[in-house]
C-alpha cells in the first residue's frame, strides 16, 4: 500500500465532505464509546488492571531479547517454526516460500494488521496465490479493493447500503430479490461464499494478539470464529506477528485479554479467544500439520531505548482512535496508511518515515482523550510531540511556521518589547473590532481562522496596560 499520508490535509478535507463516511463515523459513539464506558464502569479494578498491563509490557520490553528467545525455543519445542524477519520484504518472502513449498493456491486469512503492514495480499496475488480474507470486514474490503480504515473494525467506514452494493456487484449469482436488511443477512451471504474457500485452502494465515513466552503459544481473539476455521482447516497455519506481541506468561496474557476486549468493543471477552501451540499432535482430533510464525521487526527494535519505546506496549485495541475527535470526523483512510488515529500518528512515522508521515503527529489538538482511554497508558500526545520535535530539528516544519515561531519566541523572551508590541496590536485590533460589532469576519493573514469562524476582537487594552492604569489610580 503506497502511503497517501503526505496528502493528509487533502484526504481529510475530502472525508469531511463524504456523506456516507460521515454517516458511518457517527456510529462511533453508540458502538464504541458507550460500550467501553459501560464495561469499564462494571469492573471496579479496571484501573489497576491497566497499571498491571502497562507494567507487564514494560518489563517484557526491557528484556525483550530474552522473552523472544524463550518464546521461540518453546515454539520449536512444540514442533513449530519461527521465521525471524527484520523487514517487510523478508516477511513476505518467508510467507511465499512456505506457500510455494506446499504448493498452495488458495490461502485463507484471518484479520491481521501485520498483513496490511507488509502488503501481503498484493504480493501473494502477484505470485499466483489467491488470498481470501475471512473476517467479514476484510472480506468486503477485498471485494472493494479498499484498505481498512480502522484496526479492529476494518470496514467501519461502510454502511449497510455499501455492503449490499458490493455483494450485488461481486456475487453475480445473487437473486435480485435477495434482501440485506440486517447484519445477519450480510453474514449469511459472506458465509456461503467463505465456506467453500475454507475447505479449499491449503494454507491459513492469522495474526496474533499475543505470543506467550513460557509456552510458545500464539493467541488470537475474534468475534466471528473465522480465525478458528482459518487456522484449523488448512494443512499449514502461518501466524503473522511483530516482536512486541510477546508476554512472559499465560497469566500475563489473561491480564492483557481482560483489557483488550473491554477497551476495544466493551465486551468482557471476545467471542472466540484461541490459543495455538505448535502443529497438530498425534492425539489431537484436528489442527494443521505445520505451524509457522513470521516474526516481524520492521523498525520496531529501533524504538527500544528511544522516546518511542512506550508505543511498543500497544495492544491494538483501537480505543485511542475511537475516542479521537480528529479520527471521529475524518475517518481512517485520511491518515493514508495502515495505522490511523493517535496510535498511527506515533507508529506510522517510525514505519514509513517522518518525511512521509509528518502530518500525522501534527493533526492532533493534544486533547489527551486517547491517553486517557489507552489500556496500557501510552502517553500518545507526548510521543506525537516528540515527532514534532524531530520534524523541527530536521527542518521539516514549514518555514512560514518556523519564522513565525522564531519571531514570537524573540518577543516572548523580551518582556519589555513584548509589552510594547502587544499593547499596539491589541489597541489596533480592539479599535477596529469595536467598529465591527466586536468581531472580525475576515482579517489579513488570518484566513485559516476566519474561513470557518469569526475572530472575536480583543478588548483593546492589554492586561498589563490596564493593571498599570488601575494600580496608578488605586482602583485595584
Amino acid at each position: 500500500m503506497l502511503p497517501t499520508s503526505p496528502a493528509f490535509k487533502e484526504n481529510a478535507a475530502r472525508a469531511l465532505q463524504e456523506e456516507r463516511l460521515q454517516k458511518a463515523l457517527a456510529r462511533t459513539k453508540p458502538q464504541f464509546h458507550t460500550k467501553r464506558a459501560k464495561a469499564v464502569a462494571a469492573l471496579p479494578e479496571f484501573e489497576q488492571i491497566r497499571d498491571i498491563g502497562r507494567d507487564i509490557k514494560n518489563h517484557t520490553l526491557q528484556f525483550l531479547d530474552h522473552y523472544l528467545e524463550t518464546w521461540a525455543e518453546n515454539v520449536e519445542r512444540a514442533g513449530g517454526h519461527v521465521h525471524w524477519c527484520p523487514t517487510a520484504e523478508d516477511a513476505r518472502a518467508a510467507v511465499l516460500a512456505i506457500c510455494q513449498r506446499v504448493g498452495a493456491r488458495i490461502v485463507t486469512k484471518g484479520k491481521s494488521m501485520i498483513s496490511e503492514e507488509i502488503a501481503l495480499n498484493d504480493y501473494l496475488e502477484r505470485h499466483g496465490i489467491t488470498p481470501v480474507e475471512t473476517d467479514l470486514g476484510e472480506y468486503i474490503l477485498q471485494l472493494r479493493h479498499e484498505p481498512p480504515s480502522h484496526i479492529i473494525g476494518p470496514a467501519f467506514h461502510l454502511n449497510r447500503e455499501d455492503w449490499e452494493e458490493s455483494f450485488r456487484k461481486s456475487h453475480t449469482d445473487l437473486p435480485p430479490d435477495r434482501v440485506f436488511r440486517e447484519r445477519r443477512d450480510i453474514l449469511t451471504e459472506a458465509r456461503t461464499k467463505l465456506r467453500e474457500r475454507f475447505l479449499a485452502a491449503d494454507v491459513g494465515i492469522t495474526g496474533a494478539n499475543f505470543l506467550i513466552a513460557e509456552t510458545g503459544t500464539s493467541v488470537i481473539v475474534t468475534n466471528e470464529g473465522n480465525g478458528d476455521l482459518t487456522q484449523t482447516l488448512p494443512r499449514v497455519h502461518i501466524v503473522l506477528a511483530s516482536i512486541e506481541k510477546v508476554v512472559p506468561t499465560l497469566e500475563d496474557a489473561t491480564n492483557m485479554l481482560r483489557l483488550l476486549a473491554r477497551s476495544a468493543t466493551g465486551q468482557d471477552f471476545s467471542v472466540y479467544t484461541t490459543f495455538s501451540t505448535g502443529p497438530r499432535r498425534p492425539e489431537d482430533p484436528d489442527g494443521p500439520e505445520e505451524y509457522h510464525v513470521i516474526l516481524l521487526d520492521n523498525g520496531r527494535s529501533s524504538m527500544l531505548g528511544s522516546p518511542f519505546q512506550d508505543m511498543l506496549r500497544c495492544i491494538r485495541c483501537a480505543a485511542c482512535m475511537n475516542h479521537c475527535p480528529v479520527y471521529n470526523v475524518v475517518g481512517g483512510h485520511a491518515y493514508g496508511w495502515v495505522y490511523p488515529g493517535p496510535m498511527g500518528a506515533v507508529l506510522t512515522p517510525t514505519l514509513i518515515g517522518i518525511d512521509q508521515a509528518g502530518h500525522l503527529p501534527n493533526a492532533s489538538t493534544f486533547c489527551g482523550r486517547c491517553e486517557s482511554v489507552c489500556p496500557v497508558r501510552i502517553p500518545l500526545p507526548r510521543m506525537m510531540r516528540h515527532w514534532r520535535e524531530r520534524e523541527f530539528e530536521r527542518h521539516l516544519t514549514p518555514s512560514f511556521a518556523r519564522t513565525n515561531l522564531r519571531l514570537w519566541g524573540f518577543f516572548a523572551r523580551h518582556p519589555g518589547l513584548y509589552r510594547l508590541a502587544t499593547r499596539a496590536g491589541a489597541a489596533l485590533l480592539g479599535w477596529l473590532g469595536k467598529r465591527r460589532g466586536g468581531r472580525f469576519t475576515a482579517l489579513p493573514l488570518a484566513g485559516a481562522w476566519t474561513r470557518g469562524r469569526d475572530f472575536p476582537a480583543p478588548e483593546g487594552e492589554t492586561f498589563f496596560a490596564r493593571y498599570q492604569r488601575l494600580e496608578r489610580s488605586h482602583a485595584l
Binding site: 492532533s364 486517557s372 510531540r385 515561531l405 523572551r413 481562522w449 470557518g452 469562524r453 478588548e459
Partner: protein, 260 residues
Amino acid sequence: MLQASPNLAKTPRVALFVTCLVDFHRPSVGIAALRLLREAGCHVEVPRAQTCCGQPAYNSGDRATARELGRQIIETFSGYDYVIAPSGSCGGMLRHHLPTLFDDDPNLRARAEALADKCYELVSFLVDVLKIESVGARFSGKLTYHDSCSGLRELGIKDQPRKLLAAQGAEIVEMEDAEVCCGFGGTFCVKYPEISTRMVSDKTANIAATGAPLVLAGDLGCLLNIAGRLKREGRPIAARHVAEVLAGMTETLPPIGETR
C-alpha cells in the same frame, strides 16, 4: 465579599500568571482572577517579566525556545507561594510539562519541579486548595459548561467550576459531549482549519441544544474558537470565561466577540 479561607495559616503570596491570551485579548479575565484571589484572602502580585507559558513553541517541536521561556518562568515565579493561571492549558503546561523540558539538567529540573508543585489553575485553586465554597457575586440564569481538555485531563477540573457556579445561583444545563475537544488545539486550528471548524461546529450544536443562552469555559483559547463559531453561525448565545461570572462582571463586560 467572600470569606478569607480559614484553611490558611498565613496570607499566601500569590503570583498571577496572566497568560498571553488573557493579556492580549481579554484583560478583564485577569482582573477577575486578581479580585477572586484577593477576596479569597491572598496577597496577589503580577510579576512584570512574564509573557507566555511557552506552549506555542513546546507543542510545535521548538524545544529550545520552550526551554528558554521555561527558564525565564522559573526565574520570575519561583519566589511565590503559589502561581495561579486563569487557564487549564497554561496551568497544565506549568504543572506537568515545564519540568520535562529540563530532563538533562538536574539543577533546573529540580527548580522546575519545585515551581510546578506551586502552580494551579484559578478555579481549582480556589476550590481544592483554598476550600472556597462560594464567591460573593450572584448569578441567576441558565448556562452550560465546556470542559477544556488540559484542565479536565491534566488537572482534573470538572466539578470545581460547577460547584462555585451552582452556589452563585446558576442553573447548569449539561451539554452532550462536554468533555470532547472544541477543535482549538493552539496552532492546530489554523494548521487544519477544516477539521477544526468541523469540531467546533459539533461543539456549538451541542451548546445550542441545551437551550442555555450562555456557555462558559476556563480557557480563553477554546472560548475564542467557540465564540467565533457561534457568531459565524448567528447563534444568539454568549460565551464567557468562568472567572468573569465568578467575579460578577457580566453586567459591565460584553461577552466574547460582542460589543453590546
